[in-house]
């Protein structure tokens, strides 16, 4: 394969043709922030937090998707780059609830000196975001910073959608669509600041094409998509991530051999993930591997734990009904 030589922050690096600037940075252990980029999804380059300055380009370019070119000169820490990254993080932090982002993102925000408060106090949650029309918004006095805050969508027993935390990175849409599941239950709807992830006509998930594989949860970087169990435990103030163990096992449902990471708190499985680098799953699972673990802890001889009540609450559906008998097996 042909090779391309370029310079990143003064260091020369040779990469296979077709690599991205981000690949080149990684080859140099030159860590770059990303939000909408994930190794197992097609780059959409929408968050713009990975932008870098390339000599000869009028604007900054997204390193996650710009292919390297011979002789390219890349600066990842210029004034312009630092400014844009700071602003992107500030724009998101001032409009979205970022409490649950990973530590690396928090560190980057500190690194760039983000101050989301300077846009004013955040506006109250809105209840009409799913009905907003393209091209028409209400103009306020500007004294509050507009946000995407809104009520959590709880419409099934398996996972919730808290779009107050959504940075619109498109990852869930990609995982639901061509990059993994090919279900296409969700898409970006609306326009501009009112753009949002939605099913058709904002119908509930149980009424949509969703197959509850949970692959959208697996790729969500901000906790906007969350196991119902985690959601209820957090609401109750009983989510103790530090006390959880993670046990890797192989899914027992079929012969594919998907690896599962069982997240266990108080001897109860509270969440299931799959390692992103696993050759079989690339982090993706099906409904059985992701959610079909209840039988493990329904044997009847387990001691009652403090979180059992909460987990039972997680299985109440949106109409207040307890789970159907057949949902146990």
């Amino acid at each position: 394969m042909a090779e391309v030589t370029l310079v990143v922050d003064g260091t020369t690096v040779t990469m296979p043709d077709g690599s991205t600037i981000l690949d080149a940075c990684r080859a140099l252990d030159n860590n770059q922030p990303t939000l909408c980029y994930l190794d197992n999804l097609t780059p959409v380059n929408v968050c713009r937090v990975c932008v870098v300055e390339v000599e000869g380009n009028r604007t900054l370019v997204p390193s996650c998707s710009r292919p390297v070119e011979e002789g390219m000169e890349v600066a990842t820490d210029s004034d312009r780059v630092r400014h844009s990254r700071k602003m992107v993080y500030e724009f998101l932090a001032s409009s979205v609830d970022l409490d649950l982002v990973d530590e690396e993102t928090v560190a980057w925000m500190d690194h760039y000196g983000c101050d989301p408060d300077r846009y004013g106090p955040p506006a109250d949650p809105a209840h009409d975001r799913d009905r907003r029309k393209a091209g028409h918004h209400q103009i306020g006095p500007g004294t509050e910073a507009e946000t995407v805050h809104q009520p959590v969508k709880v419409d099934n027993e398996l996972y919730v959608r808290d779009y107050s935390r959504c940075i619109l990175c498109y990852k869930c849409v990609e995982a639901c669509g061509e990059d993994a599941q090919n279900t296409f239950a969700i898409a970006v709807a609306g326009r501009g600041f009112d753009a949002r992830i939605s099913t058709e006509f904002d119908t509930g998930l149980t009424d949509s094409a969703c197959v509850f594989c949970g692959n959208c949860i697996g790729v969500c970087p901000t906790g906007a998509l969350m196991f119902r169990s985690e959601h209820e435990l957090r609401l109750a103030g009983m989510w103790e991530e530090d006390d959880q163990t993670v046990t890797r096992t192989v899914c027992s449902y079929c012969g594919v051999g998907c690896n599962l990471d069982l997240h266990v708190q108080d001897n109860r499985i509270v969440k299931v993930t799959s390692p992103m680098d696993h050759s079989v799953t690339s982090g993706h699972l099906c409904i059985k591997g992701r959610f079909g673990y209840e039988y493990v802890q329904e044997v009847g001889d387990l001691a009652v734990t403090p979180i059992d009540d909460i987990l039972r609450r997680a299985r109440i559906d949106d109409r207040g009904r307890y789970p159907r008998p057949d949902s146990r097996a």
Binding site: S84, F91, Y119, A134, H136, A145, A189, F193, S208
Partner: protein, 593 residues
């Protein structure tokens, strides 16, 4: 979501797509579950580009797109309903909620709002069938109202009044007005020579005035020579970016990747711009002939003319021109004896400024949300349907008629050295004779305003908006600026789309700048963070200032800078320029009280 279409909705879709074939409509394809796509990925990809026209078909016939109608379209086209919903909701003119059969979109954008549009809208406020609208491209006849009428054609009323709007909403029809052609009869006109003089619906009339001689010449010359002439003409794109047209054409013509596509960008939506509308309405054959020459030159067999939905008259005249040209052998197989085939299809936008951005336009044609693509790759490499594509705006394209006829070298003599050819400008606002004016590059801003009869209102210029909302405001000190690409660049101005919108010194620029901030927030596609949030923060910042707080100029610049540096497309790149120029000219202070 299981919702069934009504009979009317089903017929509207079937009238457009044709009746369903047994394989589409038989068992077991449904089994009552309309969410599931059975046609396979490939068929879905092949029919996806019909999504926007199909949504239009229902919206036109019934007035809105219900869940049942959306499901039926999705079933016919094998598009996932969530995606179709996302596409439909991207466009301001497609309604996903039931609404009155007749709806008025009243322009309250920068031009119309100072010419009675703001008062008109205020008077109509509270009516469920009235919505404010961004620029409708009728600035020379402000205020303008665009009507959507379920079961009937869309229509536009210019010089609108309260009574007239109510009358049309209650079943009346709009008034037809003759074209505004302030230069009609001037023998030096090239682009506007037929406007107001030649019947735009008659192929014979077009031919009698020299029409289709350029195509005959182009066929005789052959594609390579046509491209050589275009390159020699040094014609630069009139859409705002001023990119040399010949380079695009050559790149596509030489690409081994087939098929090639041609797109005429007629999504003229830049506030203050209406020149392409005038050409399309009153010289539609010129557009069709130019596209045909371009298509043959770059080896495309299909051309798309993407026109904004707010131009219904232009659309019907263009369709008539296409039909007559095809019947005369000037489109279709073996165009004008060339041995090549070329077809033109009109595609209608849905009310989205961003779809004038070339890659957003391509996504829109492909049935996706009109979100711009990251560049590179450029459209000449990976364009419509992933193929090499030439995309030119209407005004740019029609220059090719004279280039072919007179030769590129002669054309390059017109204008100035770096800005060749004639140029159209949209004069509106506080001028005596608003309209589209054609001049050679090099006339000054002041001369142009004089050509339009000088400043009205107070008679004193407050500021001139150059190049649209994506352009900027200049003061009287720019009246001596020659209107060329190079002079504009030298003075940090832009010609943009040719907007020369004149405001007198009594204008409330606080109101104007607020509207521009609102415009960019409304029209941002929402894809990238800098623009999606930046346009909101910019509007809030300005609103705080207009509410009495001191302007946080540093923060304004910080917001502007990230939009310029890190946005995906030109919308974000230009979202601050006009507002910054209003601030810098001191117009906000001057407009106070």
């Amino acid at each position: 979501m299981s919702a069934e279409p009504t009979t009317a909705e089903r017929s509207a879709v079937d009238a457009f797509l044709g009746p369903p074939t047994p394989s589409e409509d038989g068992e077991p394809a449904h089994s009552g579950d309309r969410r599931v796509a059975f046609g396979g990925y490939r068929r879905s990809m092949e029919s996806r580009h019909m999504l926007l026209p199909a949504l239009h078909a229902v919206n036109d016939a019934v007035g809105w797109v219900s869940a049942g109608a959306l499901n039926y379209i999705c079933e016919r086209l094998q598009v996932p309903p969530a995606e179709a919903y996302g596409v439909a909701g991207f466009y301001a003119l497609l309604s996903l909620e039931e609404r009155p059969a007749r709806v008025a979109h009243v322009c309250d954008d920068v031009a119309c709002r100072t010419m009675g549009g703001a008062e008109l809208l205020e008077g109509l406020e509270g009516r469920p069938d009235v919505h404010p609208s961004p620029c409708l491209g009728q600035c020379d006849q402000a205020p303008a109202v665009f009507f959507q009428r379920a079961g009937e054609e869309d229509t536009v009323e210019v010089g609108a009044t309260y009574d007239r709007v109510v009358e049309v909403l209650e079943g009346g029809s709009v008034r037809e007005v003759p074209p505004i052609a302030p230069q009609a009869g001037d023998p030096s006109l090239r682009l506007l020579k037929r406007i107001g003089l030649v019947d735009p619906t008659s192929l014979a009339g077009y031919r009698d005035t020299g029409g289709y001689q350029p195509l005959a010449r182009a066929v005789a010359m052959g594609p390579e020579q046509v491209i050589a002439e275009v390159k020699m003409s040094d014609l630069r794109g009139r859409g705002g970016a001023a990119f040399p047209m010949g380079i695009k054409w050559e790149a596509v013509a030489r690409s081994p990747d087939m098929p090639h596509y041609l797109i005429c960008n007629a999504d003229e939506s830049e506030p203050g711009t209406f020149k392409d509308r005038v050409i399309m309405e009153d010289d539609p054959f010129a557009v069709i002939e130019s596209m045909t020459i371009a298509g043959l030159a770059v080896g495309a067999e299909r051309g798309y003319l993407y026109i904004r939905a707010e131009y219904p008259l232009a659309q019907s005249r263009l369709q008539n021109a296409i039909d007559l040209a095809r019947a005369a052998g000037l489109l279709g197989e073996d165009v004008a004896g060339s041995g090549c085939s070329f077809e033109i299809e009109i595609r209608r936008g849905g009310g989205a400024y961003i779809c004038g951005e070339e890659t957003a336009l391509m996504n829109s044609i492909e049935g996706k949300r009109g979100e711009p693509r990251n560049k590179p790759p450029f459209p000449t490499q990976v364009g419509l349907f992933g193929r090499p594509t030439v995309i030119n705006n209407v005004e740019t394209l029609i220059n090719v008629l004279d280039i072919v006829l007179e030769g590129g070298a002669a054309f390059a003599e017109i204008g100035t050295g770096a800005s060749t050819g004639p140029k159209l400008f949209c004069l509106a606002g506080a001028v005596a004779r608003p309209g589209v004016y054609e001049v050679e590059f090099g006339r000054t801003l002041g001369e142009l305003i004089d050509l339009a009869g000088g400043v009205t209102g107070s008679g004193r210029i407050g500021a001139v908006m150059l190049g649209g909302a994506a352009g900027l405001f200049v003061g009287e000190d720019h009246l001596d600026m020659p209107l060329t690409f190079e002079d504009a660049r030298a003075r940090n101005a832009t010609l943009g789309s040719g907007v020369v919108l004149v405001f007198d010194d009594r204008t409330d620029f606080r109101d104007t700048s607020r509207r521009i901030a609102q415009f960019f927030r409304d029209e941002s596609c929402g894809q990238c963070v800098p623009c999606r949030v930046g346009t909101v923060r910019q509007e809030e910042l300005l609103a705080r200032h207009l509410g009495g707080e001191p302007l946080d100029r540093d923060l304004f610049e910080e917001v502007a800078r990230v939009m310029v540096d890190a946005s995906i497309c030109g919308l974000g790149h230009t979202a601050s320029t006009a507002i910054r120029s209003v601030i810098d000219l001191g117009l906000l202070e001057r407009s106070r009280g």
